[in-house]
Symmetry: C2
Subunit: 206 residues, 2 copies
């Protein structure tokens, strides 16, 4: 019997990670997000920063290129590395899903784990509340103006969108790809999640 899985897609700054973390806590499930990057890094012997960079940017298809006059197909080494990172990520996500019931944030887990019939959640919010959230949550080093945050939010969403579309062939954030879409603009996440946990634990026998 397959483990119960919850996947969370989220707009940058919408609080999707927080919902995921609190949901895992409320349902006594494991939670994975950043941990997947660390695991890939250990397995591939590549720096976490590099792995992060690769899984966040739009992947390029591997294609043979011709150099000079040789006309021989050559695979670019950098793409091979990237490809191995994707393969590793895919493998790790499956392993995690097999090990225990869990909540996985991002990384196209909804598609990778579709045969587990996960509860697929998408978290979003209006731009204003996302900027506000980013300003409140920023680390010491991240001192941006509202305008800069807006820019950053749009860039991050664009990356996620391209990444998702490349791997799944589906539109990122399109409600048809999810079971529940939650607008956090007017939501107090902390008090919302325990109630939401009770709602979905009866669904699909979580």
């Amino acid at each position: 019997m397959m483990n119960r899985i919850i996947t969370i897609g989220r707009e940058f700054g919408s609080g999707g990670r927080e919902i995921g973390r609190r949901l895992a806590e409320a349902l006594h499930m494991d939670y994975f997000d950043r941990e997947i990057i660390t695991e890939i890094s250990q397995r591939t012997q590549l720096a976490e920063e590099y792995v992060q960079l690769v899984v966040e940017r739009k992947p390029h298809k591997l294609y043979p290129i011709t150099i000079g006059r040789t006309m021989q197909p050559v695979i670019m080494p950098v793409s091979q590395t990237d490809q191995s990172i994707y393969i590793e990520q895919h493998r790790i996500i499956k392993e995690l899903a097999d090990k225990s019931p869990c909540v996985i944030v991002g990384r196209c887990a909804d598609e990778i784990l579709k045969e587990y019939k996960p509860v697929r959640i998408f978290v979003y919010a209006d731009m204003e509340s996302r900027i506000k959230r980013c300003q409140e949550r920023r680390s010491q080093e991240e001192s941006y103006t509202d305008k800069e945050w807006r820019q950053r939010i749009m860039e991050m969403d664009k990356k996620r969108s391209k990444y998702y579309e490349f791997y799944t062939g589906k539109k990122w954030g399109d409600k048809q790809n999810y079971d529940f879409c939650i607008n956090t603009s007017c939501l107090e996440i902390k008090s919302f999640v325990p109630r939401f946990a009770r709602l979905i634990e009866a669904e699909k026998d979580i």
Copy 2:
């Protein structure tokens, strides 16, 4: 103090009406859908069938037209009738919201009642499950093939979409316009709604 309001937008055949009805029941709120048409009909002395027709089709802006050589602006009577139906609908929805806490399905109630800060829900499902639902719920007279239902579903959605966009200037079904979007494709509505009612009754102090 304003009454608590829940508005429900829905794709045709997705079960949005059923969710609305059951939600009203669970939360002891009034429920309005078809009742609004009946009320408009009584107030305007127009047949329910005609009112239904008007509120379902894309409205035309009122504009003066010139007939023959007179160059005098003339308002077409049919448009005046239509306009009075829209005005009546707007007025009735506000009256209902003032009278008691309620669930209102469709009719751009989310926009008309925005100052009430309603909980805005959108209900959707994949085409397959909507066709299935239509086949199960059809009346004796409605004998359509799956292909015909698909056609009908797409037509109804198109009407709703145009109507909503005309009155609100916003995109129908765009998740940004709603607080929760619910995919009913794999949902057992009857058991889901009581749990969902508990979830949202704590939101915005319903």
